[in-house]
Protein backbone atom coordinates (compact mmCIF):
# COMPACT_ATOMS: atom_id res chain seq x y z
CA UNK A 1 0.00 0.00 0.00
CA UNK A 2 1.30 3.44 -0.94
CA UNK A 3 1.89 5.28 2.34
CA UNK A 4 3.37 8.46 0.92
CA UNK A 5 1.90 11.63 2.39
CA UNK A 6 -0.12 13.50 -0.23
CA UNK A 7 0.82 17.17 -0.52
CA UNK A 8 -1.89 19.03 -2.37
CA UNK A 9 -1.72 22.75 -3.19
CA UNK A 10 -4.52 24.97 -4.42
CA UNK A 11 -2.43 26.23 -7.40
CA UNK A 12 -4.65 29.33 -7.43
CA UNK A 13 -4.26 31.18 -10.70
CA UNK A 14 -5.24 34.74 -9.79
CA UNK A 15 -2.55 35.84 -7.35
CA UNK A 16 1.07 35.07 -6.60
CA UNK A 17 0.08 33.24 -3.40
CA UNK A 18 -1.45 30.42 -5.46
CA UNK A 19 1.84 30.00 -7.30
CA UNK A 20 3.73 30.02 -3.99
CA UNK A 21 1.41 27.26 -2.72
CA UNK A 22 2.00 25.25 -5.91
CA UNK A 23 5.77 25.67 -6.01
CA UNK A 24 6.27 24.93 -2.31
CA UNK A 25 4.25 21.70 -2.58
CA UNK A 26 6.14 20.67 -5.73
CA UNK A 27 9.52 21.48 -4.17
CA UNK A 28 8.63 19.19 -1.27
CA UNK A 29 7.49 16.21 -3.33
CA UNK A 30 10.09 16.47 -6.11
CA UNK A 31 13.16 17.83 -4.35
CA UNK A 32 12.98 17.50 -0.55
CA UNK A 33 11.11 14.30 0.27
CA UNK A 34 10.29 12.37 -2.91
CA UNK A 35 10.49 9.05 -1.08
CA UNK A 36 7.97 10.09 1.58
CA UNK A 37 5.56 12.34 -0.31
CA UNK A 38 3.73 12.82 -3.58
CA UNK A 39 1.11 15.12 -5.02
CA UNK A 40 -2.26 14.51 -6.63
CA UNK A 41 -3.84 16.90 -9.15
CA UNK A 42 -6.42 18.96 -7.25
CA UNK A 43 -8.40 19.39 -10.48
CA UNK A 44 -8.72 15.60 -10.70
CA UNK A 45 -10.00 15.48 -7.12
CA UNK A 46 -12.56 18.18 -7.97
CA UNK A 47 -14.05 15.99 -10.73
CA UNK A 48 -15.26 13.58 -8.05
CA UNK A 49 -14.09 10.61 -10.14
CA UNK A 50 -13.90 7.34 -8.20
CA UNK A 51 -10.27 6.84 -9.23
CA UNK A 52 -9.36 10.31 -7.99
CA UNK A 53 -11.07 9.72 -4.63
CA UNK A 54 -9.23 6.42 -4.25
CA UNK A 55 -5.92 8.26 -4.54
CA UNK A 56 -6.54 10.19 -1.33
CA UNK A 57 -9.41 8.57 0.57
CA UNK A 58 -8.12 7.63 4.02
CA UNK A 59 -4.58 8.84 3.28
CA UNK A 60 -2.63 11.42 5.26
CA UNK A 61 -2.76 14.69 3.32
CA UNK A 62 -1.18 18.10 3.76
CA UNK A 63 -2.93 20.92 1.94
CA UNK A 64 -1.35 24.21 0.92
CA UNK A 65 -3.67 27.14 0.29
CA UNK A 66 -2.96 30.58 -1.09
CA UNK A 67 -6.11 32.39 0.04
CA UNK A 68 -8.73 32.21 2.80
CA UNK A 69 -11.13 30.26 0.57
CA UNK A 70 -9.04 27.17 1.45
CA UNK A 71 -9.89 25.37 -1.78
CA UNK A 72 -7.31 22.62 -1.40
CA UNK A 73 -8.27 21.79 2.17
CA UNK A 74 -12.02 21.81 1.47
CA UNK A 75 -11.82 19.73 -1.70
CA UNK A 76 -9.47 17.15 -0.17
CA UNK A 77 -11.79 16.81 2.84
CA UNK A 78 -14.84 16.43 0.60
CA UNK A 79 -13.05 13.63 -1.28
CA UNK A 80 -12.25 11.77 1.94
CA UNK A 81 -8.58 12.67 2.47
CA UNK A 82 -7.30 12.97 6.04
CA UNK A 83 -6.08 16.55 6.22
CA UNK A 84 -3.32 16.31 8.83
CA UNK A 85 -2.11 19.89 8.34
CA UNK A 86 -3.52 22.92 6.55
CA UNK A 87 -0.66 25.14 5.42
CA UNK A 88 -1.73 28.74 4.80
CA UNK A 89 0.65 30.67 2.55
CA UNK A 90 -0.52 33.96 4.04
CA UNK A 91 0.74 32.93 7.51
CA UNK A 92 4.29 32.84 6.14
CA UNK A 93 3.90 35.79 3.79
CA UNK A 94 2.84 38.11 6.61
CA UNK A 95 6.22 37.54 8.24
CA UNK A 96 7.78 39.20 5.18
CA UNK A 97 5.95 42.52 5.12
CA UNK A 98 6.83 44.92 2.32
CA UNK A 99 8.36 42.26 0.09
CA UNK A 100 7.30 41.63 -3.51
CA UNK A 101 6.97 37.98 -4.36
CA UNK A 102 6.38 38.09 -8.13
CA UNK A 103 3.25 37.38 -10.15
CA UNK A 104 0.88 34.41 -10.56
CA UNK A 105 3.05 33.47 -13.55
CA UNK A 106 6.55 33.82 -12.16
CA UNK A 107 8.09 34.12 -8.69
CA UNK A 108 10.85 36.61 -8.07
CA UNK A 109 13.70 36.16 -5.58
CA UNK A 110 11.62 36.83 -2.46
CA UNK A 111 8.87 34.59 -3.81
CA UNK A 112 11.40 31.77 -4.13
CA UNK A 113 12.61 32.40 -0.56
CA UNK A 114 9.08 32.17 0.86
CA UNK A 115 8.49 29.05 -1.23
CA UNK A 116 11.61 27.44 0.26
CA UNK A 117 10.44 28.40 3.76
CA UNK A 118 7.00 26.86 3.28
CA UNK A 119 8.45 23.75 1.64
CA UNK A 120 10.68 23.29 4.70
CA UNK A 121 7.59 23.53 6.96
CA UNK A 122 5.78 20.91 4.87
CA UNK A 123 8.80 18.61 4.96
CA UNK A 124 9.06 18.99 8.75
CA UNK A 125 5.42 18.01 9.13
CA UNK A 126 5.89 14.97 6.87
CA UNK A 127 8.87 13.82 8.91
CA UNK A 128 6.86 14.25 12.10
CA UNK A 129 3.99 12.26 10.62
CA UNK A 130 6.39 9.50 9.64
CA UNK A 131 7.81 9.41 13.15
CA UNK A 132 4.30 9.21 14.57
CA UNK A 133 4.63 12.57 16.27
CA UNK A 134 1.55 14.16 14.72
Amino acid sequence: MNKKVKVIPCSGIGKVYGLIARESALKTVFDLLPEKSETVCLAYIVTGDKEAREKIEGFACITVDGCPKMCASKNVSIAGGNVMEEIKVLDTVKEHKGKKFGSPTQLDEDGELVTDEIAAKIAKTINELNEGGK
Binding site: A43, I45, C71
Partner: protein, 149 residues
Protein backbone atom coordinates in the same frame (compact mmCIF):
# COMPACT_ATOMS: atom_id res chain seq x y z
CA UNK B 1 -22.99 48.25 -23.78
CA UNK B 2 -21.61 45.36 -21.77
CA UNK B 3 -18.01 44.52 -22.43
CA UNK B 4 -17.34 41.10 -23.93
CA UNK B 5 -15.35 38.98 -21.54
CA UNK B 6 -14.26 35.41 -22.06
CA UNK B 7 -13.71 32.98 -19.20
CA UNK B 8 -10.74 30.63 -19.25
CA UNK B 9 -10.48 27.75 -16.79
CA UNK B 10 -7.15 25.96 -16.52
CA UNK B 11 -6.70 22.58 -14.85
CA UNK B 12 -3.26 23.66 -13.50
CA UNK B 13 -2.62 20.00 -12.71
CA UNK B 14 0.25 19.36 -10.33
CA UNK B 15 1.25 15.85 -11.37
CA UNK B 16 2.64 16.45 -14.85
CA UNK B 17 4.04 19.01 -17.25
CA UNK B 18 0.74 19.35 -19.11
CA UNK B 19 -0.82 20.96 -16.04
CA UNK B 20 2.00 23.48 -15.78
CA UNK B 21 1.71 24.29 -19.49
CA UNK B 22 -2.08 24.72 -19.18
CA UNK B 23 -1.54 27.20 -16.36
CA UNK B 24 1.23 29.16 -18.09
CA UNK B 25 -0.66 29.37 -21.38
CA UNK B 26 -3.78 30.57 -19.58
CA UNK B 27 -1.81 33.20 -17.67
CA UNK B 28 -0.17 34.37 -20.88
CA UNK B 29 -3.55 34.96 -22.51
CA UNK B 30 -4.93 36.68 -19.40
CA UNK B 31 -1.94 39.02 -19.24
CA UNK B 32 -1.26 39.70 -22.88
CA UNK B 33 -4.46 39.46 -24.91
CA UNK B 34 -5.67 43.03 -25.38
CA UNK B 35 -8.35 42.66 -28.04
CA UNK B 36 -10.85 40.95 -25.76
CA UNK B 37 -10.99 40.96 -21.95
CA UNK B 38 -10.46 37.61 -20.31
CA UNK B 39 -11.21 36.41 -16.82
CA UNK B 40 -10.46 33.24 -14.92
CA UNK B 41 -11.58 31.33 -11.87
CA UNK B 42 -9.64 28.92 -9.68
CA UNK B 43 -11.14 25.55 -10.63
CA UNK B 44 -11.48 24.16 -7.06
CA UNK B 45 -13.71 27.11 -6.17
CA UNK B 46 -16.61 25.30 -7.83
CA UNK B 47 -16.82 23.26 -4.63
CA UNK B 48 -15.06 25.50 -2.12
CA UNK B 49 -16.88 28.65 -3.19
CA UNK B 50 -20.54 29.52 -3.51
CA UNK B 51 -23.30 30.13 -6.02
CA UNK B 52 -21.40 33.04 -7.54
CA UNK B 53 -18.45 30.84 -8.50
CA UNK B 54 -20.64 28.03 -9.79
CA UNK B 55 -22.40 30.52 -12.04
CA UNK B 56 -19.16 31.29 -13.91
CA UNK B 57 -19.84 29.38 -17.13
CA UNK B 58 -23.40 30.71 -17.26
CA UNK B 59 -22.09 34.26 -17.19
CA UNK B 60 -19.12 34.01 -19.53
CA UNK B 61 -18.49 32.13 -22.72
CA UNK B 62 -15.99 29.74 -21.17
CA UNK B 63 -13.04 27.78 -22.50
CA UNK B 64 -11.39 24.93 -20.60
CA UNK B 65 -7.66 24.29 -20.88
CA UNK B 66 -6.60 20.82 -19.78
CA UNK B 67 -3.13 19.37 -19.45
CA UNK B 68 -4.08 15.80 -20.25
CA UNK B 69 -6.89 13.74 -21.70
CA UNK B 70 -8.59 13.32 -18.32
CA UNK B 71 -10.05 16.76 -19.17
CA UNK B 72 -10.67 17.69 -15.53
CA UNK B 73 -11.28 21.40 -16.16
CA UNK B 74 -13.75 20.68 -18.96
CA UNK B 75 -15.65 18.00 -17.06
CA UNK B 76 -15.74 19.89 -13.75
CA UNK B 77 -16.93 23.09 -15.38
CA UNK B 78 -19.72 21.22 -17.13
CA UNK B 79 -20.59 19.29 -13.97
CA UNK B 80 -20.69 22.20 -11.53
CA UNK B 81 -21.09 25.36 -13.57
CA UNK B 82 -22.55 25.04 -17.05
CA UNK B 83 -21.99 24.33 -20.68
CA UNK B 84 -18.60 25.38 -22.02
CA UNK B 85 -17.90 26.95 -25.39
CA UNK B 86 -14.65 25.20 -26.17
CA UNK B 87 -11.95 22.96 -24.79
CA UNK B 88 -8.24 22.51 -25.36
CA UNK B 89 -6.37 19.32 -24.52
CA UNK B 90 -2.73 20.38 -24.14
CA UNK B 91 -1.54 16.81 -24.75
CA UNK B 92 -2.97 16.94 -28.26
CA UNK B 93 -0.77 19.99 -28.99
CA UNK B 94 2.52 19.19 -27.23
CA UNK B 95 2.23 15.39 -27.45
CA UNK B 96 1.11 12.92 -24.82
CA UNK B 97 4.65 12.03 -23.79
CA UNK B 98 5.49 15.67 -23.04
CA UNK B 99 2.19 16.35 -21.32
CA UNK B 100 2.53 13.35 -19.04
CA UNK B 101 6.14 14.13 -18.12
CA UNK B 102 6.18 13.79 -14.32
CA UNK B 103 9.79 14.90 -13.88
CA UNK B 104 9.55 18.49 -15.09
CA UNK B 105 6.63 20.22 -13.43
CA UNK B 106 8.07 23.12 -11.41
CA UNK B 107 8.36 26.54 -13.06
CA UNK B 108 12.03 26.79 -12.19
CA UNK B 109 12.82 23.60 -14.13
CA UNK B 110 11.27 24.77 -17.39
CA UNK B 111 13.46 25.25 -20.45
CA UNK B 112 13.02 27.47 -23.51
CA UNK B 113 11.42 24.47 -25.21
CA UNK B 114 8.74 24.27 -22.51
CA UNK B 115 8.07 28.00 -22.73
CA UNK B 116 7.62 27.58 -26.49
CA UNK B 117 5.06 24.85 -25.77
CA UNK B 118 3.13 27.24 -23.51
CA UNK B 119 3.21 29.90 -26.23
CA UNK B 120 1.85 27.42 -28.77
CA UNK B 121 -1.01 26.49 -26.46
CA UNK B 122 -1.69 30.19 -25.77
CA UNK B 123 -1.98 30.73 -29.53
CA UNK B 124 -4.57 27.96 -29.71
CA UNK B 125 -6.55 29.59 -26.88
CA UNK B 126 -6.52 32.91 -28.74
CA UNK B 127 -7.66 31.18 -31.95
CA UNK B 128 -10.53 29.59 -30.05
CA UNK B 129 -11.50 32.93 -28.50
CA UNK B 130 -11.53 34.58 -31.93
CA UNK B 131 -14.00 31.93 -33.14
CA UNK B 132 -16.51 32.57 -30.36
CA UNK B 133 -19.74 34.17 -31.55
CA UNK B 134 -19.95 37.75 -30.21
CA UNK B 135 -23.49 37.17 -28.94
CA UNK B 136 -22.34 34.39 -26.59
CA UNK B 137 -21.92 36.95 -23.82
CA UNK B 138 -24.91 36.71 -21.52
CA UNK B 139 -24.64 40.24 -20.08
CA UNK B 140 -24.83 39.00 -16.49
CA UNK B 141 -22.34 40.17 -13.90
CA UNK B 142 -19.69 38.29 -11.99
CA UNK B 143 -17.62 39.81 -9.24
CA UNK B 144 -14.44 37.86 -9.92
CA UNK B 145 -12.56 35.10 -8.28
CA UNK B 146 -12.04 35.38 -4.53
CA UNK B 147 -8.30 35.10 -5.04
CA UNK B 148 -8.27 38.30 -7.04
CA UNK B 149 -8.34 37.16 -10.65
Amino acid sequence: MDELKVGIISCSGEECLGGTISRLATRKVLEELKMISTVTLCLPLYLAGGEEERNFANVYPTLAVDGCDKLCAKRSTEKYSGKINGSIDVSSIIGKENALNTKTVRNKDLTAEHIAMAEEVASEIVKMISNLPPDSYSGKTFHGCACGS
